[in-house]
C-alpha cells in the first residue's frame, strides 16, 4: 500500500462533494445540540461510533472485494432516513466520478455502469481505495475520519468556532477513530465469509430524526 495514496483519498480537498455536507451538524447546531467545542466533540464521538462505524465497515468490506450490490442494500437497511439514503447515493456518485478520474480502472467503471443512480458513498470509498492500491484498513480509516471531519469543518463555518478548537477535537478523537476502524475491519472480514448481516448496525436516533427535519427546511447551508 502507498501511504501517500491514502493521504490523497483522505484529503478533505479530494473533489467528491463532501464539503457541502455537515453530517447532521447543521441541524444539531440549529436545534441547539451543538453550541461549542465540547458539544461538537460529543456529537462527533457519537457519530463516530454509529454512522462512522457502519460506514467504515462498509468501506472495508468493499475494499476486500465484497459484492457492492449486497453492501449497498445493507447500507439501505442501516439508513432508515430516506434523506440520508439519497445523500449517501449522491455522494457515492460524486466520489465515483472523482475516483474514476483519479485512479482509472475497469472495476470502478463496471460499478458505475451497473449503478447509474449511485451506490452508498462508503461502498464507493472502499472501491476507490482498491483502485488506489489501498487496503481495508485504509478504507476504514478514511471513513471514520470523514464521519467526524465533516461535522467539525461544518461547525467551524456554522458557529464561527475557533478552527484550532475544532481540529483539537479531531485530534482527541484519533485513538477512538483507530479502534473504530479496527472494529470495522474485523467486521468486514466476517462479512466476506458470513455475508452483509455481519456488518455492524449501530444507529443514532437523533441523526436519523435530525436528517429528515433538515431535509424539510427551506433554508439551509449544507445538503445534509
Amino acid at each position: 500500500m502507498s501511504r501517500a495514496a491514502l493521504l490523497v483519498l483522505a484529503d478533505g480537498r479530494f473533489p467528491a462533494g463532501g464539503h457541502a455536507h455537515s453530517g447532521g451538524a447543521e441541524e444539531a447546531v440549529r436545534t441547539g445540540r451543538i453550541t461549542d467545542a465540547a458539544s461538537l466533540e460529543s456529537f462527533c464521538r457519537g457519530r463516530l461510533h454509529t454512522a462512522g462505524l457502519v460506514a467504515a465497515a462498509l468501506a472495508a468490506a468493499a475494499a476486500l472485494g465484497c459484492d457492492p450490490a449486497a453492501l449497498d442494500a445493507a447500507a439501505d437497511a442501516r439508513t432508515p432516513s430516506p434523506a440520508l439514503r439519497t445523500a449517501a447515493r449522491r455522494l457515492g456518485r460524486q466520489l465515483m466520478r472523482a475516483a474514476r478520474a483519479t485512479w482509472p480502472g475497469l472495476e470502478l467503471d463496471a460499478v458505475a455502469r451497473e449503478f447509474p443512480r449511485g451506490v452508498h458513498q462508503p461502498v464507493v470509498l472502499g472501491l476507490a481505495a482498491r483502485a488506489a492500491g489501498l487496503g481495508a484498513a485504509d478504507a476504514a480509516h478514511c471513513a471514520v475520519y470523514e464521519s467526524v471531519g465533516g461535522p467539525a469543518t461544518a461547525t467551524v463555518r456554522l458557529l464561527s468556532l475557533d478552527p484550532f478548537d475544532a481540529t483539537a477535537v479531531l485530534a482527541r478523537l484519533a485513538p477512538e477513530m483507530d479502534r473504530t476502524a479496527d472494529t470495522a475491519v474485523s467486521a468486514a472480514h466476517r462479512v466476506r465469509k458470513g455475508g452483509p448481516d455481519e456488518l455492524p448496525a449501530a444507529s443514532a436516533p437523533l441523526l436519523e430524526i435530525g436528517a429528515e427535519a433538515h431535509a424539510a427546511r427551506p433554508v439551509r447551508l449544507f445538503a445534509s
Binding site: G46, L48, A77, A83, S203, P205, L206, E208, I209
Partner: protein, 252 residues
C-alpha cells in the same frame, strides 16, 4: 441454585381457523415467560406475556418465538413493563425475540416498555421475518433507568427481512460502557426514552409513506422496501408512548 442464569423460551403460533377466526395451536412458556390468551376482537386473537416483570436478570437468556401463519390475526402484548435488573450470575442477560409473519397473516407485536435499570446489562435482539404479503405492526420502547435512576447497559438490535431481503437493521447501544457519545447530541442527547414503530404493509411497495414528522421528536420514514418506520426520542416513557400513539393513529 442457578449459576448461569435462567434459560426460558415461550412459543406462540397462530393460524387462521378457516372460519374467519384465529386459533393458537401452540401457546407455551416456561419460567418467567408465560403467554396467556385473552379476549380478542373480531378475527384477532390476543396473547399477553405475563410475568415478564421478574426478568431478565444478568445471565438470563429469554427467547420468544412468535409465528403468525397464513390467515392469522394476532396481537401479542405484555402485562407490564419488562425491567432489566442486575443479577447474581455473571454476564449479560439476553432477550431474543423471533417473529415470523407468513403470507396473508398479520401480527401486532406491542409489548410494554423495556426499562434498563441501574447496573443491568441486557442485549435484546428482535428479528422479524415477514413474507411478501405479511402485515406487521411492531412497537419497541426503551426506557433508560427507572425514575431518577441511571440506566444500565442496554444494546437493542432490530432487524426486519421481507421476502428474505433485509429492509431494516439497526442497533442502539446505551448506558455505562456503551461506545462513547451515546448520550450526546448525535445519539440521544439526554433523552431517557427512545422507541420505534415498525409497519409492514404490502401496499407500501406501490405507495410508500412520505417522510414527515408525526409528533414532537418523532419522524416517520419509508424504508427501502414495503415498510415504514417511526423513530422517536422523548424525555420519558409517557411522552414517548404519546408520540408513538400519535404516529400510529396518523398512519390509519
Amino acid at each position: 441454585m442457578r449459576t448461569g442464569g435462567v434459560r426460558a423460551t415461550a412459543r406462540i403460533t397462530a393460524r387462521g381457523d378457516g372460519r374467519g377466526g384465529t386459533e393458537l395451536p401452540v401457546l407455551e412458556g416456561e419460567g418467567p415467560l408465560a403467554p396467556r390468551r385473552t379476549r380478542g376482537s373480531g378475527a384477532q386473537a390476543r396473547v399477553v406475556l405475563v410475568g415478564a416483570m421478574s426478568g431478565p436478570l444478568g445471565g438470563d437468556h429469554l427467547t420468544v418465538h412468535v409465528r403468525a401463519a397464513t390467515g392469522a390475526r394476532l396481537l401479542v402484548g405484555s402485562a407490564a413493563a419488562t425491567i432489566a435488573l442486575p443479577g447474581q450470575a455473571k454476564g449479560d442477560a439476553r432477550y431474543d425475540v423471533r417473529l415470523t409473519v407468513e403470507d396473508g397473516a398479520e401480527l401486532h407485536w406491542l409489548p410494554e416498555q423495556l426499562i434498563s435499570a441501574r447496573g443491568s446489562e441486557l442485549r435484546v435482539v428482535t428479528r422479524v421475518e415477514a413474507a411478501p404479503t405479511a402485515r406487521l405492526v411492531l412497537r419497541e420502547e426503551q426506557v433508560l433507568g427507572r425514575v431518577g435512576e441511571e440506566p444500565g447497559r442496554l444494546t437493542s438490535r432490530l432487524a426486519l427481512r421481507i421476502g428474505g431481503r433485509t429492509v431494516l437493521d439497526q442497533e442502539l447501544a446505551c448506558g455505562p460502557g456503551a461506545p462513547g457519545g451515546w448520550d450526546g447530541p448525535a445519539v440521544l442527547d439526554g433523552h431517557r426514552a427512545v422507541g420505534q414503530l415498525l409497519l409492514v404493509r404490502p401496499e407500501f411497495a406501490e405507495a410508500p409513506v412520505g417522510a414527515r414528522p408525526v409528533a414532537e421528536g418523532a419522524v416517520l420514514v419509508p424504508l427501502a422496501g414495503p415498510a415504514a418506520l417511526v423513530t422517536a426520542t422523548a424525555p420519558d416513557a409517557r411522552l414517548l408512548r404519546r408520540a408513538l400513539d400519535a404516529a400510529l393513529s396518523a398512519l390509519g
